[in-house]
Symmetry: C2
Subunit: 396 residues, 2 copies
């Protein structure tokens, strides 16, 4: 059996954070029913900058494979009964509307707990259901700025640089999975569901737990270190080679010595200017210039191979093409095939990101908008005539 | 009851990724016994660059509050029996040694499953237990480089910039929590434990699931966008104000119009050069220069207040001092007090990062090295004489 087989999720979420959460549940075997607006569906299906065919942008596919899609117009009176039947036997509800919107739509915790008090209800927002910021508009880059995360990245003398992908949307989605699975364990014992309040801002700070704790203790701000490692030594930094960038991670004395020998400079090991951490810190600029010189005429691949062989922490700065084609994954189950509607060949998506027994987990098909409306309504007890009427009235 | 009350974890992990995982379990109410080397303990207790008193660096405290600490020298013959007793009744084992090391220490999955077949055993490594990279040395910054994550950050024309804190250590720790909780649900039904293989590299790619899926579909590399939003418009970017940086997130037409009005430039709404997304894209440099001009003489706080009032997505780039003192958290349960040994006043750490019912979760005390050795040995059936002998022999 799959690890989360038997769990039923009603998914009112859209865009990225919520669907990332429920996407993990779908991968792990839960039954996820995604509720979408008729006609347009989840805004992530069609998003100007996303690759992919109409209605099936790749980021949408990545987050929603394996779910059932049904359409529902919340404003129609018949929607209420459909929601009631959906939620009655569900274990989990996930939504990521702004605070207050679920109540207007009739899908807030107070309404749904009346139907099913065993429900675990997870609300994902930018800033949570309390606090002065709760109605502040949340975009990934806005929360990166607000949270201190953006401030942490970049060269000390330059401006801050954001993380180049929506890291807080995905991180918050996965933190929501933790919250839900923990609440479910408690529910299975107490028989009582609960409301979970997950905020992107809180998650951003949690992600930086170490620096935040240090700051709260000392009152000092962390150093913005650019590409240098936390020990601020020249042998743990980023360098330009003849054809690309390389990152060194030689923090320890032994690693420094191995580095020098591997690069053909054993003399540096006994050079008083570099003899230990203190000496190297004092002569940091000289050491840095020396390494810049070492790297200039070599290829990144050559340096990486040399240093890896010598057991010095190192990696070329790879782009997504270079890493996704790496032979490393020939023996892993990270990538998986999924059926994309309208395409004969399956596409490649990511599996769970960790390997459980019985892997590879099968990645389910990507749903077209409303693909499962009729079949789900049938399981909820609607007959063919009733389903036809719901379509005719624009409810689904 | 706390959500994970009753779960027993034996924690062989050290540094950051593993302790982040088991730290979340401790916060949620599980019983976590941390095994440390006698005398030195977890290398994260004393780490040159970390703030905090000896043996209690703040990043160590953040990840290890609420755990029990016992010391154990794996090389002593008596260690085997102590491990047997610890593992016999445990639900979960977590370790983050390099592949191969647990077998040498006698704490690998194949050894421990003999003692307790219901065990969920989670191994966290840089590159996993399979694949050509499995013995590659893993540091956060090395995996950032290897995974394509580092390549994604930075200005298009500059070199790549890493994330300024160990994002992959923490993210991988939390992904491990998901993997373990999912495996536990299956174990509770099947009665069978299992081995979980979590790799930082896999998690890094999973974190970038959308861009990875897009790349695998199109073969194209994502754009490195610096501080610009994904729509690459000038009204969603970072700007310097008179006293700091501000991030704008005005992607939509209505947001652009609100932005112009709030900034006192309603004329721009009807200016043909900025009339719609296409026009603004064509005149991007001009629009950017206009906004630079707008921001130059205003304070970041003033711009933030103006635009927030107008419902334009916006945030000042705050540092950790500015965000952790924000009144937002007066009504949240994100921060919590924890007892630090040798200090009368509790220190402030982060709670779970999400709010469950019955919050605030109490954050347990930070353990000194071996603080619980005797009490844990007593619960394992060792009497005072036996415990004294174990101390005398340097086993604990």
């Amino acid at each position: 059996m799959k690890p989360l087989e038997g769990l039923k999720i009603v998914d009112f979420s859209h865009m990225l954070s919520g669907p990332t959460c429920t996407g993990m549940f779908a991968l792990l075997g839960a039954d996820v029913t995604k509720i979408e607006r008729p006609k347009t569906g989840d805004g992530f299906r069609n998003y100007t900058e996303h690759a992919g065919p109409p209605g099936l942008s790749l980021p949408f596919c990545a987050a929603n494979a394996g779910k059932k899609s049904i359409t529902l117009d919340f404003t129609k009176p018949e929607a209420k009964e459909i929601i009631r039947r959906l939620v009655k036997d569900a274990d989990i509800v996930v939504e990521n509307f702004r605070p207050g919107v679920p109540a207007k739509l009739g899908v807030d915790w107070d309404s749904l707990r009346q139907i099913n008090p065993k429900l675990v209800y997870c609300s994902i927002t930018g800033f949570g259901h309390s606090g002065v910021l709760q109605n502040w508009g949340a975009l990934d880059q806005v929360v990166q700025a607000m949270s201190g995360l953006l401030w942490m990245n970049g060269e000390p003398d330059d401006g801050p640089v954001k993380v180049g992908f929506p890291v807080l949307d995905t991180f918050t989605g996965y933190m929501s999975v933790i919250a839900i699975l923990a609440a479910l364990r408690r529910r299975d014992i107490t028989g009582k569901g609960e409301f979970i309040d997950v905020a992107m801002l809180d998650c951003a700070l949690k992600m930086m737990g170490g620096p935040v704790a240090s700051h709260l203790y000392t009152g000092e701000l962390p150093k913005r270190t650019g590409n240098r490692g936390y020990r601020m030594v020249a042998t743990a930094d980023l360098y330009k080679t003849a054809d690309g960038y390389i990152v060194l991670g030689a923090n320890l004395q032994l690693q420094f010595e191995k580095f020098c020998r591997a690069m053909g400079r054993p003399d540096m090991v006994t050079d008083p200017r570099f003899i230990d951490h203190e000496a190297r810190s004092a002569n940091n600029a000289l050491l840095r210039d020396t390494i810049i010189e070492m790297m200039r005429d070599r290829s990144a691949a050559e340096v990486e191979a040399l240093l890896a062989e010598a057991e010095v922490p190192v990696a070329m700065v790879r782009n997504l093409a270079e890493i996704t084609s790496h032979p490393q994954f020939d023996d892993r189950t990270l990538f998986a095939k999924a059926r994309m509607p309208g395409r004969e060949e399956p596409i490649t998506l990511l599996s769970a990101g960790f390997q459980l027994e019985g892997d590879p987990l099968e990645v389910g098909a990507i749903p077209t908008l409303g693909e499962h409306t009729d079949s789900v309504l049938a399981t909820l007890g609607y007959d063919d005539a009733a389903i036809a009427a719901l379509h005719a009235d624009g409810v689904v």
